[in-house]
Subunit: 227 residues, 2 copies
DNA sequence: TGCAATGTTGACTGACCAGTCAATCTATTT
DNA sequence: AAATAGATTGACTGGTCAGTCAACATTGCA
């Protein structure tokens, strides 16, 4: 399965018909999201994707080097956007609580906006050791590390207590979010605009509540990170 | 893939050679854990399991109805033990923090004792919507609900604040644990006896810290659950 | 000793499906 | 209008693998 990864890095043809071509490519990607979400990556056939997109079987291979590459593309496309968001938040001047709140909001809104895509990313990539998770491990790790950096800074400022290692705290934070999405994906938690908003509050309340230092410690600024 | 689920519910032959037969069965199960952990359920062949166990291909089908049934068995075997532990803890008289601590300890110790098995359960079942996760959803849900019950009780006692719904809190708690295991599985977090112990503290600190009510609210006992 | 009954073997089959490719179509350029 | 290049089609192939089965082995009992 994971043998034939990629081969034609580009995917999208250049000039000329590029507009129409890009549209077809997107059509296939969107169809793939639906099919992967409905049947799972392993259980679906490439022909299911083609059928869902209303194109011929071979066209999938015109735009993508392999079935794997379709999923890779979907994952990277979304994860890069998320990494960018986290980097921006990290660089900004907000207090930790709001930084983490912004990240939680982004991920939960991603789910609200396209639950199928997030389902596919979580189910087929983020948790899939031995297959896609392993392939993209460095990309995934980067998110954890950026969150860890935010926690670290809060610890340096004395807002978060130091007893809990930043790495651990970052995993905890991300874990809570992903588990909430998992709850929605498996239909274990009710969904809806209200629920999503409340979930955002839960993430921040729960995790930050447990990480914050007693008010006294707000002294000792410690050494901030160079940048 | 998920078509031929079960057919011979028993699996273990009865009397007579039952001792030796049970051993062979276990031999196959243990081999399957290693193979599933190493290659993943989808990527491995039944012959890999047979080879790893040092038995003939056909013997796997003597003890199990299908490849799926092997994984089902591994999952259920472990999950039932966990459910029992949670039920005991729930019924006991400990304060919430210790109840949740005991659950976190159990899961983390399960990983320490048999990381391959926990890897398989998390990667192939717990997060696998559309395949095994879907099949076992009710069994999985039960764990979340039992944890929710513990949180609920703490809220009734005024130890945990009521703003965060028990269901959410339970998911958050479990999510933190599973994400830590995921960190170890993907080699994103260092492992070792010390790390595991610290992780237990992190889970309880982080989540309970965020859920506990300010000391004042310890009044209003509210209505306890009937039992 | 002989006869069930269960344990064990591995070659074989039938279905399935990712990926290929030669042919056809469409648009753009000159 | 002819030429070129990319877009689109879908039948076909080659390999893979879950599951079957008929034969052989071992065990316990009568």
């Amino acid at each position: 399965m994971s043998a034939t990864r990629s081969s034609r890095g580009n995917g999208a043809p250049r000039e000329r018909n590029s507009k129409a071509a890009a549209d077809k490519r997107r059509l296939i990607l969107d169809a793939a999201v639906r099919v992967f979400a409905r049947q799972g990556f392993h259980a679906c056939r490439v022909s299911d994707i083609a059928d869902e997109a209303g194109v011929a079987y071979g066209l999938v291979y015109h735009y993508f080097g392999s079935k794997d590459e379709v999923l890779d593309t979907l994952f990277l496309e979304r994860w890069q956007v998320m990494l960018e968001l986290i980097r921006e938040v990290d660089a900004g001047p907000l207090p930790v609580r709001e930084k983490l709140g912004a990240i939680a909001s982004f991920i939960i809104d991603s789910y609200r906006h396209d639950p199928d895509l997030m389902k596919v990313i979580i189910v087929e990539v983020t948790r899939a050791a031995n297959s896609f998770g392993d392939t993209h491990i460095d990309t995934i790790r980067e998110a954890y590390e950026l969150i860890g950096k935010i926690v670290q800074q809060a610890q340096d400022e004395g807002v978060f207590k130091r007893e809990i290692e930043a790495r651990f705290a970052a995993m905890a934070f991300y874990g809570v979010i992903e588990q909430l999405l998992t709850g929605w994906i498996f239909d274990l938690l009710p969904q809806g605009a209200d629920e999503f908003e409340r979930a955002k509050a839960v993430v921040v309340e729960t995790v930050c509540g447990g990480l914050e230092a007693p008010v006294s410690d707000r002294t000792t600024p410690g050494n901030r990170l160079p940048q």
